[in-house]
Amino acid sequence: MRTSKKYIVAGLFLILLIVLFSCELLLGSVYIPAQKVFSVLTNNEHQNEVWNTIILQSRLPRALGAIIAGASLSVSGLLMQVLFRNPLASPYILGISSGAGLGVALITLSSASIGFAFAPNGLSLVASAMLGALLVFSIVFFISLRVKDIMTLLVAGVLIGSIANAIVNIIQLHSSALTVKTFVLWTLASLDQLEMADIKLLYIICPLAMIGSFLLSKQLNTLLMGEKYARSVGVNIMLSRILIILFSGILAASITAFCGPIGFIGIMVPHIVRIIFRTNHHKLLILFSVLIGSCTLLAADLMAHYFITSVSLPINAVTALIGIPVILWLLLGKKDISKTI
């Protein structure tokens, strides 16, 4: 695809992003006219408190959350796929979601079984998920400082993730049905519980990590030719690897802590970007992943809420049910998945 054509397609996705974002704000069980939504957003109207609350505390954080989560997970997955040269690598390949899961399991399940006088709320869930993710992430990070071979790190990441899962299983077996349900609900992931304070935090952390990743484009490009080649053109492999893991980990951990382990986006979007734009320059891949990742998660969230009007669906089920046929269709039309990296 020629460069100019790439930007035209990117422009179309930008329009799609705006349309989807508007849908998130306009649609809902309570009908609010478009111009009222607009005036609430621009602070012109304060008469209708209910509308204010619905838009500013429910629809807007969800829409903004879908954008940042979609973008972050896509960039995070892209980084992991390049680092491990593996088309199946996801933001969670180094055990971050398992770590977050362990944190949540400890707080929801053990608080009840130990008789801890403490009911898990939104904040404690986020904090425990964050702590769990950071715990696993730091272990993997320190391993990455010691191992020379990148595949050893991949195996170590998967193994540590499995340990976290094993502990979760033990806790689950000894918990009540109700607390197990709380945990299972967390694993389904959702954007509904996001509040504006969460959004503000995510919009500070995630863009910083994305800019960091963008500045690594040069190193990421050379890694496509293999670590040895990258070294021969003067790239510091250890430093690049550490930064890639750090940025990818920050993105995945912060989104997982606030939204739960949203699946498939991180694997799927980088492939969609490569197939559509047919480039392997990471300056473009990162930009387009941000754009298409945001669109994908917005679309998935809209479908989760409005595909069947009376019932909302878990977002992970939607990303899997809709996303996987899409990527299969793209792949069957083009080439096999290993050939897109």
């Binding site: 040269r85 484009s217 050379t222 030719m225 080649y229 070294r231 021969s232 053109v233 003067g234 320059h281």
Partner: protein, 235 residues
């Protein structure tokens, strides 16, 4: 003529085992040097050591007068270009984009190519007879053409010394000759110093200027007339 590569009494160990001992070699500008020897005799180890991947336990290596183990990776990347025996071939990348990788040691963070970079890339493509391939997808090329693209990338890197680890190993009979002939042309026209390893003494004797043989835990230069004899004795 300038001395490009100077190796002084190096010892190299790999995984605590001594592979090469007390080897020395001096290569001048515009020479095509073939490195021959049995599998496991230390050819790749020597090339890795010269390229800066494996530090010698003793001795010194300098390229254009710069001690490569006392200089930083960025400086090294402007002195030596290295081509692996089985390089990875990325997808969705055109021939020109791949050759542009050769300019990486000279680019800023955003990897934007200047007019000068583009001129060098086009010249490298021309040198390797790839001008009409420049917008083709790299992976649609034959192995012989791919090898030329990798050589063009090394030319774009614009280093006095080019190291190639078995550049002809996956190629057919004709492509092997073409590859070595291309290297020879680069030595003559662009004053490059090229060192490559090979398992084809006949081809090397015909085209290379100088010959280094790895055997018995060391390496040394031999005359053209003694290449086959020395190799057979080492086998």
């Amino acid at each position: 003529m300038h001395t490009i590569l100077e190796i002084k009494n190096i010892d190299v160990s790999y995984k605590q085992q001594k592979v090469l001992e007390n080897g020395s070699l001096t290569l001048k500008e515009s020479t095509l040097t073939a490195l021959l020897g049995r599998n496991g005799s230390g050819k790749s180890t020597l090339l890795n050591t010269i390229s800066g991947f494996l530090k010698p336990t003793k001795g010194e290596i300098s390229v254009s007068g710069v001690n490569i183990y006392k200089s930083n990776p960025a400086t090294r990347a402007r002195l030596i270009s290295y081509l692996e025996s089985t390089p990875l071939s990325p997808q969705n990348i055109t021939v020109k984009e791949l050759v542009a990788f050769g300019r990486y040691p000279y680019l800023n963070l955003f990897t934007s190519l200047s007019e000068k970079d583009l001129t060098i890339i086009n010249f490298a493509l021309f040198q390797c007879g790839l001008s009409q391939f420049s917008d083709r997808l790299f992976n649609e090329l034959s192995d012989g053409e791919k090898q030329k693209v990798f050589i063009a990338r090394a030319i774009a890197q614009n280093t006095p010394l080019i190291i190639l680890d078995e550049p002809t190993s996956h190629l057919d009979f004709i492509a092997r000759r073409e590859t070595i002939k291309l290297l020879k042309t680069l030595c003559l026209k662009e004053n490059k110093t090229i060192l490559f390893s090979s398992h084809e003494p006949e081809l090397c004797i015909e085209l290379a200027d100088r010959f280094v043989i790895t055997a018995n835990h060391t390496f040394s230069e031999v005359n053209k007339g003694e290449v086959l004899k020395t190799l057979i004795n080492s086998y």
